[in-house]
């Protein structure tokens, strides 16, 4: 049991971490790009992000899960494709504010090259909030994996995954309620600590 819980944790967390990377890096870069260039670039990227946003996260994951049921990469791809929007929106919004500040104009007039502007102005401005987005994104990913496992469209048994385990253990809730509680508690504690690590419910 403990081994299965652990391997469930490993699955969820590695998926979350990987999706932070694959969603976070392009999302952040595109956000900065949109804010930096503005105009048409901004409009195209924003429209695209809006469209992805209109497909509630789980939907895209579900559709990809349908292509390759039970496979790990479909979940991963779906989650990454959904989560990048959060990074994009956050980065774009903050970068737009920062880039419109006099300090940036001053830096340009002083001839500071773009990488120094990114390094000295944008990075410290965006960085801490980005951590929050990442923590919430990871929590979303962990929950999504479990939710899909629970409705049996995600990871398939006998792979140990918290949502799948909940489905497996639910029938025994009366005989052994602590069994079903174990994956639930694992999930709740993981999500809780991700949320708390960046200050509770304060979304950026």
């Amino acid at each position: 049991m403990a081994a299965r819980l652990l391997s469930g944790a490993q699955l969820s967390l590695s998926l979350a971490v990987l999706s932070i990377l694959t969603a976070g890096i392009p999302g952040t870069l595109l956000g900065i790009l949109a804010a930096w260039f503005g105009g048409l670039t901004d409009r195209i990227l924003t429209s695209f992000a809006d469209a992805v946003l209109a497909l509630p996260g789980l939907l895209l994951v579900l559709m990809l899960a349908a292509i390759s049921p039970g496979s790990w990469w479909a979940l991963y791809a779906g989650i990454s494709l959904t989560l990048w929007v959060e990074y994009f929106r956050y980065t774009r919004q903050r970068a737009r504010i920062t880039l419109s500040e006099p300090a940036i104009e001053a830096s340009r007039l002083l001839g500071l090259p773009w990488h120094l502007i990114v390094l000295r102005h944008l990075a410290p401005e965006i960085g801490p909030g980005l951590l929050t987005v990442a923590a919430f994104g990871a929590a979303t990913a962990v929950t999504a994996v479990a939710a899909l496992g629970f409705v049996s469209v995600g990871v398939r048994p006998p792979t140990a995954e918290w949502g799948v385990m909940m489905t497996e253990l639910l029938p025994y809730w009366r005989e052994a309620p602590f069994l079903i509680l174990q994956p639930i508690i694992c999930l709740v504690v993981t999500v809780l600590s991700l949320h708390l690590s960046v200050g509770g419910l304060r979304k950026p």
Binding site: P102, E105, L109, L110, G111, L112, P113, R120
Partner: protein
Amino acid sequence: MIVIQVKALYVFAENNCLLGPISFEIQSGGVLIVMGETGAGKSLIIQAILGTLPEPLCAEGEIFVNGRRIDDLAHAERTNLWGREIACLPQEPWCALNPLMASWRQVAETYRYVANRASRAARSETEKRFLALGLNSAEPRLPGQLSGGMAQRVAFAAATAGQAPILLADEPTKGLDSDRQARVLNLFEHERSIGGALLTVTHDASVAKALDGDIIVLRQGQVVERGQTENVLVNPKADYTKSLLAADPAAWPKAPTVEHGEILLIAENIAVGRGSQILVDEFSLTLHAGERVAICGPSGIGKSTLLDTFAGSIKPIRGYIKRAEELELYSVQKLYQDPPTAFPKYISLGRNLRDVANLHRVPWERVLAYLDALSLHQNLLQRRADEVSGGELQRLSIARALTINPKVLLADEPTSRLDPITQKDTLDLIARISSTESIAVVLVTHSTEIAKKWTDNIVDLAN
């Protein structure tokens, strides 16, 4: 009759005394002006009277309104005085008006709920009041659509609709040009003439001059000097009062004119604006080395946009700007209204200066020399922008610009956030540097007073 009396008022922040002791009384129809720099504790007096001191602060002393002691009243009873016994004109009328509510409603609701008129009567009273204040076009507008002067008058109407005999005004003329200042002061005169008592807090000597009454000069919470305005203003005793009065633009000596050098920049018949909206049209200017030009006009008229166009941050919609050949890419520099926003927020000032120096291959010693010349201490460099005072920061930004040998300095209201004494020093400094380094300076300001004292070369966009 004494309308309001304050006895030995102190304001403490935990164990620190921020204000006091201060005592005064105002007769019906009387005026008390409290004058001092930003941070002198002027606003604390108003907050202490109202009972709105923010959390860790607490007041001690006795306050009487119409002979009744109010400082020991329960909060609910205290708030009952608001609008009915004591009216308060806020410092920033734009922020004090609900951004989502039409102007007239914000006045009408005072008539309705404070003066207890029927809603129809409240409406018609409001209309009358707006008419009297010259605000009739402003009725349906939202605060965001009002000019500073209009917002001030709407706030005045809203605050006084309950006909409280005491009016407290916190920096009532902040950010207003001289015409609008005069209108606000007229309103105060009117209040007095119908028997109201006025307590106003200001850093502006011209306000004190215009309102004749009692004055208290405050410095770091301590009373420096007090008396009748005509005595104190004409014949100040304390050094601090003297420097405060000297910092009033009206009292400035005229800055010396200097000879112009070669032509640096020519703007011919340019139209500037944001997006497709034209703010300033058919504007022409020729700028010479060492020349000082002031551009003035009320806010929103396009002064800053014009400056951005000179800086090359936006392109003119029509016309062109010709730069002299020796004008290099980085020869045009800018000074900003709010100095902290001109520096990176998260890194030390030293890091920022080093970045600039490295980029332009300026020896670090030269940077330090400039700092010295502007009497800036080196240990400022370890701090970040928000840890340095506004005056120092503005000088630092001048030093930063100087390190790369600019030919043109564009100054966008560079002193409007500074207190009067620092303001004067800073503008003097800019003028001095302009002549010693032969740098052309374009100064944008909303104060024609300052512009007149600073240069002869004034472009007034209002005309």
